[in-house]
Each structure stands twice: as C-alpha cells, then as structure tokens.
C-alpha cells in the first residue's frame, strides 16, 4: 500500500489546504461574502446528511448508504456552478449534487431505504435519478446535451463519474459522442482514489484529465477539495459548453474518506495512514479557516450552523424512521407509460391473491 498520491501535475487551486486564498493564472472566482458563507453551510449540511444516513443504515433504517464524506467540495462546488436549467447526471454518491439541485433528502433516503428506485422527479430538479450501473449516465447526459444543442438553447449538462468508471466503454463512448456533436456537457470525474478496493493508480497510468485530449477536447485537473477552484473550473467549462465549443473533462482530485458503502470493509485493503493524510486536506475545514482568517465569518456563525444542522438532522432521522411504505401492488405501477392489459391483469390477480389471504386469515 502506498501513501496518499498527489496529482502529478499541479491541480488548479484557489484555496490551499491551509485555508489560504491563492491566485491562478487562468482561473479566478469572485463571490460575495454571503455566497462564501452559504457554500460553507451547504457543505456542512451535506456532511451531516451523510453522517445521519450512515447512522440510520447502522440502525437498520436504510438498506445501504454510499458515503460522500470528503467529497463535499467537489460535489457542492460543481453543482453550485450550474444554472437553474442545466441538468446534472449523478452516480449513486452525489448527495451534495442532489442537495444543491433542491432534491428533498427524504427522496434520497427513499432510494437507500428501498422504497423507491428513483425518489425524486428528475425533470423537476433537473437532476437525474442516481445511476448505479457504472458509466451509463455519462451517455445519457451526453444525449441530453445533444438535445440542448438541437434546441438551440443555452442549457448545459454536467455528468458525474468516478475514477474507476473511466475504464467503462460507456464513459469513453460518451467522450466520442460529445466530441462529435460538440455537445454542451461537462464530464466531472471525482477521482476519489478508490473504486471499492482498487486504488486508482493501479488502473489509471496517466492522470485522468489527460484522457480528454485524445478525444478532441480539453481536460483540467482541479484540487477537488478546494471548493473555490472547483466552482471556477466548472463554471469555465460550462461557459465553454454553452458557447458551442464542446465538452470539457474535469478531474477533481479528492478522496473517499469513508468506506465504499456501508457494506464495505476498507480495512481489508487500505491503510489507516492514507486516511489520516487526507484528513489534513478536509474540504470543509479548509473553507472554514479561510472564512475565519479573512473575517468573513466568526465562531458564532459556525456554531449556529452546527446547531441548525443538528436540529435538521434530528428531524430527518425522525422522518426516516416513520416513513411509510408503498402499497404492495404499486410494484406494477409505471412499468409502462401507455396502457398495458397484460400487466393490469397481473396486478388484478395479485390483488385477488392477497385478498384471498386476507379473507382466509392466512399471513401472506
């Protein structure tokens, strides 16, 4: 096992791990104090959401949870850069993105509780359902972006995937289609160093962002734990997309601080040391130091947010615990959009069958 790898080429950075603001030759970001503060708040809430969900899973309230711990800056920052009408295509781990798109966290909980496979309405939030089959959403996102072009709209798309996913055919086909059609899409790869038990350097022999070049569009490496750099780089890529210049691949270098999911046992494959190194690069801590150092926020502000988050988490927990369950026969709903006699008949037989048990008092 190795020590935490560093990006080989300098990643775009506007905020150092020590919380210092630095300048970059190509990227800059001008936010109001209110915006800085709100970014901090969003990240704290996203982390709290993650903690709460992890706890709920342990208590048996969720079937599974995929933690976003450590990736808050990459997720909140990239989603912050989106316009309202842009469309996001997340994986199963982008809770920070769903949050920023206004998805009710209860809807995310539904998915991991096993009540729904989708939760929210993707069209309402302009945020696709979580996609579990690695890489699928990349092509779906590119197609949506091609539609934006056909519509001559200024909408753009961001599609997320992990370092492991870069091996999948679909992701690379996504690059080809986007390049061919100059689709307004930003490929946002969170290189969190792990694909379950596989360290990314094992399968990725060259920095991921360099993949873009050979497909005919630019790639950028960004410090994924620096929310300001993430925003700046993503905004620039979205602008480029909107202008008709085509896709950009962003590699956000970050770290999966938790297990792959609550089913995973990372002690089998990684050293505790790695994690410790990365704790020093914590994305939330970094922004907090910057806010404090520059007098943008003080202890009261931070404390108040913690209290808010606690209260909110408390409500969430209670709500999850008392979540209702859909009716059994709802399994037949929405399989088809148009009417479907055969399935209606199956539903009717299903209801009859359960009716029968109810009548006879037999437990089904």
């Amino acid at each position: 096992m190795t020590t935490a790898p560093q990006p080989q080429n300098p990643a775009v950075q506007l905020l150092t791990p020590e919380g210092e603001l630095v300048t970059h030759e190509s990227y800059s970001l001008d936010l109001t104090h209110a915006q800085y503060k709100s970014l901090y708040r969003e990240m704290v809430f996203v982390r709290r959401l993650d903690q709460e969900a992890t706890a709920l899973q342990r208590q048996g309230e969720l079937g599974l949870w995929a933690s976003s711990l450590g990736q808050e800056a990459a997720q909140v920052g990239s989603a912050f850069a989106l316009e309202k009408n842009d469309f996001a295509f997340p994986t199963y781990r982008e809770h920070g993105v769903a949050w920023m798109r206004g998805v009710d966290p209860m809807k995310i909980m539904e998915v991991y509780r096993g009540i729904s496979n989708g939760g929210w309405d993707p069209l309402e939030h302009r945020c696709n359902s979580y996609t579990i089959v690695i890489g699928n959403q990349v092509l779906n996102g590119v197609g949506y972006a091609m539609g934006c072009t056909l519509d001559q709209s200024e909408d753009a798309v961001i599609t997320y995937f992990g370092d492991g996913a870069t091996a999948q055919g679909d992701v690379n086909e996504g690059f080809v289609f986007a390049s061919t059609f100059d689709a307004p899409v930003v490929f946002f790869c969170q290189n969190n160093q792990w694909a379950i038990s596989q360290p990314s350097e094992k399968f990725v022999k060259t920095p991921i962002y360099k993949r873009a070049d050979g497909f005919g569009f630019p790639g950028v490496l960004v410090d994924g734990n620096d929310i300001l750099a993430v925003i700046a780089v993503t905004k620039a890529a979205l602008d480029r997309a909107r202008s008709g210049a085509g896709p950009t691949l962003i590699e956000a270098f970050t770290y999966r601080m938790g297990a792959h999911t609550t089913s995973d046992d990372p002690t089998r494959y990684r050293h505790e040391n790695d994690l410790q190194n990365w704790k020093l690069r914590d994305p939330i801590e970094r922004l907090k130091v910057m806010l404090a150092r520059n007098g943008i926020a003080d202890r009261n502000f931070f404390d108040a947010i913690d209290i808010d988050a606690d209260a909110w988490a408390h409500t969430l927990r209670a709500a999850v615990r008392s979540m209702g369950e859909p009716a059994p026969e709802s399994i037949f709903d929405n399989v088809y959009a148009d009417s479907h006699e055969a399935l209606d008949a199956q539903r009717a037989a299903f209801l009859d069958y359960h009716e029968g048990f109810a009548d006879s008092g037999v437990q089904s």
């Binding site: 469309f87 729904s116 496979n117 989708g118 309405d121 993707p122 069209l123 309402e124 696709n128 359902s129 996609t131 089959v133 699928n136 990349v138 092509l139 779906n140 996102g141 590119v142 197609g143 949506y144 972006a145 091609m146 539609g147 934006c148 056909l150 519509d151 798309v157 055919g169 679909d170 086909e173 996504g174 080809v176 289609f177 061919t180 709903d333 929405n334 399989v335 088809y336 959009a337 148009d338 479907h340 006699e341 055969a342 399935l343």
Partner: protein, 322 residues
C-alpha cells in the same frame, strides 16, 4: 390513399409521416444520412429533413441508445436504427438497465418514447452476425414493447404506432421481406399493431407466426391438405395470447413457427400459455417449428436451419395425427 409499396418503402413512408406530424421525432443511427441506411429505409429523409432530424451516429451502439435516452429526456422521440440484428448487443446494457427501467424508476416522470429499429432474421445469404433473431432477449425484459411487422401494411402501421408509443419499442424488421410488395392504406390505421391478426382463417390447426415467417406459414397453408388458420402476432410484447387461445379453442391444435432457436424462443412462452389456457380443448401436443439450438450457420447452410413450409407441414401432420 393506397399504394403498392415494398416493406422497406412502407417503413420509409411511416418515418416520413411520423417526422411530419411531430417535429420532435428524429432519426439516429449508423449510415442513415446520405447513404439512407444499408437497406435504404431512411432513403431521402436526410435530404428532406436535414442534419437536425436525421443524424449519422458514431460507430457505437451503446452510445446510440445511451444518448437517445438523454435526447428523450430532453423531449425528443428518437427513432434509432441498429444496422443489423447481431449489432444490438453492445447496447444491451443501456437497453435493459436504463431504457426499460427509467419510467418505472422515476415513478412515471420520465418517459422514453424511443423506437429501436432492427433489421432481423436470416435468409439473405449474409455473413455471420447478420441473420440473428434476438427477439427473446427483448421480449423477456419488462418495460419494453416489441413489434414486428410481416407485410407492407403492418410495417407502416406498426412503425407509426411504435413511434407514437410513449414506451420504448424494439421494432424488428423482417429484412428478407424488405422487398415484398403490398397495398398500404395510409389514411387510417386498418391494423391494430398491438393485436395478433388472423391473416388466413382455417379450422383444423392454428399456425402462429410473426415477422418473416408469416409468409412461410401462408405458403404452408396454401400447400396443406388441412385447413390452417394463420395468425400473425405483430406484437411480441405484450403477447396477445387471447387471440391465439380463441383460435385454438376452435381448431384444437397449435403449431408455432419462428426462426430463433427453439430453446426459450417465443414459442416456449406461447406453448406454455396456450398449454394452460386451452388445456381441456387441445387435441394434440403443441408443435414448435423453429431454428435449432445452434449459432446461425454460414449462409450456404442457412436453408437447413430456417423453418420452411415443409417443416411446417410436417408439424401440422403431427398435430393432426396425434
């Protein structure tokens, strides 16, 4: 308005009609633009509708289906062409994991009105992977609909219905019948694509076929000493087994014909359903006349693989003699 059209031309007309009636309909696939597709089913459409309605795709089927899903999310109704039956498999994952499941997953919010046109079946003397009958793979997937026409009229009506459907439809085109001609009524829809239709009435044996085998079944019916009722399924999913059962209630005997390998071919499902629903009226075991359980053979041997009217007649005789 009626016309004497080939199946290929009827399909072309259906595409044109669909594109005229809905500006969101667009065509996407390999070589469908200037070339008009390898079978010319999209002939002239690129010229008449332009780059924004008829899009040549890169050579990647997962990409074609995967991006079409995104296009549909954006409000388009993509009609895709897969160049040959054997080339749909790179797209299988997008079809089963996304295309078939998104509407259910999103509780009905996202509709995917995508039609995937696939020329299928053998009999044209082609090289490997160009003569497959992969309908089982799609018929078994909940969330998809599967249609296949057998003549110009059903080609026209079925394709229009497929495109108008709000569900994803896998549309199998019987490629060796592309050049068969027939009348097409385009003013109304004389054919309900979702129902099996009796294309020849008879009283001794019900013969169920679909796609390219309908013509073969009709040939057998012409040659048989018995009175055969020939049913063209049109829709493979949903399967209109009630129409089959109605016929079998009258004839008492059933022969099912398809090109795909017999093992878990569509005939299995039909036999299972009719075996149950007509248990007390069936007078003979249900016969299946199908491809063998082997990879599609090289073209010089394909005639030995493909069901022909002789094999149907032998099955009919078995059913009558049982």
């Amino acid at each position: 308005m009626t016309n004497d059209l080939t199946i290929a031309k009827a399909l072309n007309q259906a595409l044109r009609t669909a594109m005229e009636e809905d500006s969101k309909v667009l065509l996407f696939g390999e070589d469908i633009g200037k070339l008009g597709g390898v079978f010319r089913v999209t002939d002239e459409l690129h010229k008449d509708f332009g780059d924004h309605r008829v899009l040549d795709s890169p050579l990647a089927e997962s990409g074609i289906v995967g991006t079409a899903i995104g296009l549909a999310m954006r409000g388009y109704r993509p009609v895709l062409e897969i160049q040959f039956d054997g080339f749909v498999f790179p797209a299988f994952d997008q079809i089963i994991s996304q295309l078939a499941k998104v509407h259910r997953r999103t509780n009905g919010s996202v509709k995917l009105p995508i039609t995937i046109r696939i020329p299928y079946g053998g009999g044209i003397g082609a090289v490997e992977h160009h003569s497959e009958s992969p309908e089982t793979f799609f018929t078994h997937i909940p969330g998809l609909r599967v249609l296949t026409p057998s003549d110009p009229q059903s080609a026209y009506s079925c394709l229009l219905s497929a495109i108008r459907s709000n569900d994803p439809v896998i549309f199998f085109e019987p490629k060796r019948r592309y050049w068969d001609k027939g009348f097409v009524d385009r003013t109304e829809s004389p054919v309900d694509p979702w129902r099996a239709r009796i294309v020849r009435t008879g009283s001794d044996v019900t013969v169920v076929a679909y796609g390219p085998m309908v013509k073969t079944a009709l040939q057998a019916a012409n040659a048989s000493e018995y009175s055969l009722e020939v049913i063209d399924l049109q829709s493979l999913s949903p399967l209109d087994d009630r129409s089959i059962a109605d016929s079998v209630e009258r004839t008492g005997r059933l022969v099912i014909v398809h090109e795909a390998p017999g093992n878990l071919g569509l005939g299995a499902e039909i036999a299972a359903r009719i075996g149950k629903s007509c248990f007390y009226t069936l007078e003979a075991p249900i016969e299946r006349v199908t491809g063998y359980d082997i990879p599609y053979p090289p073209s010089k041997l394909e005639e030995h693989y493909l069901p022909d009217h002789d094999r149907i007649l032998v099955a009919v005789d078995s059913a009558m003699e049982a």
